[in-house]
Amino acid sequence: MKIQQLSLFLENQPGQIVKPCRLLAGEGINIRTLSVADTKQFGILRMIVSDWQRAAQLLKDAGYVVNVTEVVAIEVPDKPGGLASLLQVLENSPVNVEYMYSFPSGRRETAVMIFRFDQPDAAIKLLQSAGISVVSSVEVYNRAEQ
């Protein structure tokens, strides 16, 4: 159910993002989606990649500090209120959304969002019992290839 996300520490300077991207490209690893969180001085590059174990090792060998975090991919109806109805399920629970970003779903009627919950297992349970579909990791890695 949970998906492995790689996070990289980067200094906030021109040219810093391209280096890890180029490294993964050279090894034939596809970045499915990414998001950047930044401050004035540094940033965190978060990525979902096709082969996370190999990618993590390659990046570590290249001297990057890499963190692996479990995130959850959730299908969201691509229409007004789609995201709101999903978040409502969690509204009165102790589960907190740390951050989220979107993912190319390859389908017209639905979007896929990547969520970082403080309690991923509790979140998955709540969402599933509300009939919301949590996308499996295999599916996430395969979807964009279609």
């Binding site: 996300q5 996070s7 520490f9 980067l10 200094e11 969180a37 930044d38 401050t39 001085q41 540094f42 940033g43 965190i44 978060r46 570590k60 060998d61 001297g63 990057y64 500090v65 890499v66 963190n67 975090t69 740390e98 951050y99 970082r116």
Partner: protein
């Protein structure tokens, strides 16, 4: 059991016998050797003779150890001014070895050894290593540079005299250091503390957990390192990290060494007589009071040093040590008087910054201090490399860390500090002494 066995070997290693001389015999020995040294320097070294004469002093005026403060100081500049051979007290034909210190600006300083000097140096190094619990059967990785630097050869001869197995790997080629440490089943090591931290980091990247290896003791020195850095090294490597005190002008490593109790180095004072002075007035201060360490060599033949000002800030510890050695201890050197930075009129030592950094996270040993001047005002930036231990996927955690580091340093220094978290491996790694401070204030 192992700890006890190590402690016993340590306390009673035969080479350590002189460490336990009864104090009255030690003082007699020191006085006799001091008188001979002063006589030798007066007779053979022009600079010493001139300075003593200027003060109306003759060698026979030294009647007791209490007369020592009457003698003139020797300073590092004296070695530069008389470069290369001006302070030798014997013909060059009696000199069997020369070493030189890395001169960061201009000429290095040169030091000389007769065969007797080398024998003394070897014996004090053997005593230093014995006090770290190292003995015959130990496999020792000597990661100090071999060559003009005294570190490599100083340890080398001491180790051989002790009967340990030396791996003369010298500094550098870190991947090979890690491989050999693992494959040769190394039990003990010496290096500068900053280089050893780099080795640990590289080992971890290579998938080697040093804590799982037979390595159990290390002798570290030749740059100031804080108590927090020691704790970091001990936890990360699973070893006991001992301080080794020394300086080229006096002999090299082996001027003093810590014992099992790690409460500051014992000075091998049957050969090196310690005093602590107020660096401003030049007057001796009482035991326990901080000041500049001054050392007089008591047996050096080729290059006796009378009251050499080390620039190391320390104190003579008044309490005796639980190990039973009668040799006095100095407080660990946290700073050198010439490391001191004056930032907006405030005195700052790099070691204060290191202590503050390690107190916050305990895992951030790679840092650099950058000083600049903006609109006439000094600015201090401390760049700290982010490590896997402190890095997560949340920006908030990093911002918190950066703020915590800033607060800790501002609290310790009483100055505004800009902390920058930077990518790992950005700062240059040194195989010898680390360069912690980059001062660009004069460039603007």
């Amino acid at each position: 059991m192992i700890a006890t066995a190590e402690r016993v070997t340590q306390r009673f290693h035969p080479v350590s016998a002189p460490d336990y001389l009864p104090v009255h015999l030690l003082r007699d020995l020191q006085l006799g050797r001091l008188q001979a040294t002063v006589r030798r320097a007066f007779d053979n070294v022009e600079l010493v003779r001139q300075r003593m004469k200027a003060q109306g002093l003759r060698p026979e005026d030294i009647q007791s150890l209490d007369d020592l403060p009457r003698l003139p100081f020797t300073v590092k500049a004296d070695l530069r001014d008389t470069y290369p051979y001006g302070l030798f007290a014997c013909p060059l034909s009696d000199v069997v070895r020369l070493h030189a210190s890395s001169g960061t600006t201009g000429k290095p300083i040169v030091v000389a050894y007769t065969q007797d000097d080398l024998n003394v140096w070897t014996s004090v190094m053997a005593r230093a290593l014995a006090s770290y619990g190292i003995h015959r059967g130990d496999i020792f990785q000597n990661a100090h540079g071999y060559g003009l630097f005294t570190g490599g050869l100083g340890f080398h001869y001491g180790l051989e005299a002790l009967g340990a197995t030396v791996i003369p790997i010298s500094g550098g080629n870190t991947d090979r250091q890690v491989m050999i440490m693992k494959d040769f089943k190394v039990t003990s090591i010496c290096a500068t503390p900053s280089y050893f931290v780099h080795m640990l980091e590289r080992a971890s990247e290579m998938g080697v957990d040093v804590r799982e290896l037979p390595l159990r003791a290390g002798g570290f020195g030749s740059e100031p390192w804080s108590e927090s850095m020691r704790r970091h090294i001990e936890a990360a490597a699973g070893i006991k990290a001992y301080d080794c005190y020394g300086l080229t002008e006096i002999t090299g490593p082996g001027v003093g060494a810590e014992c099992w109790f790690q409460r500051g180095p014992h000075i091998f004072e049957d050969h090196f007589y310690p005093e602590v002075i107020d660096p401003e007035t030049g007057r001796n201060v009482p035991d326990g009071v901080e000041g500049e360490l001054v050392i007089t060599t008591l047996s050096k033949q080729a290059m006796p040093m009378i009251r050499f000002r080390t620039r190391d800030i320390t104190a003579l510890e008044p309490e005796s040590c639980a190990c039973g050695r009668t040799l006095r201890r100095i407080r660990r050197i946290g700073r050198r008087s010439d490391d001191m930075l004056i930032i907006r009129g405030v005195n700052v030592y790099p070691s204060q910054i290191e202590t503050a950094l390690l107190a916050v996270e305990g895992t951030l040993p790679h840092y650099q201090i950058i000083l600049t001047r903006e609109k006439g005002l000094d600015q201090m930036e401390v760049q700290v490399e982010v490590t896997a231990e402190v890095f997560g996927d949340r920006i908030r955690a990093l911002v918190d860390l950066s703020e915590k580091l800033t607060r800790a340093m501002e609290h310790a220094l009483g100055l505004r500090v800009n902390v920058s978290l930077i990518e790992p491996h950005t700062l240059q790694r040194s195989e010898g002494k680390a360069k912690r401070v980059i001062d660009r204030r004069m460039e603007s």
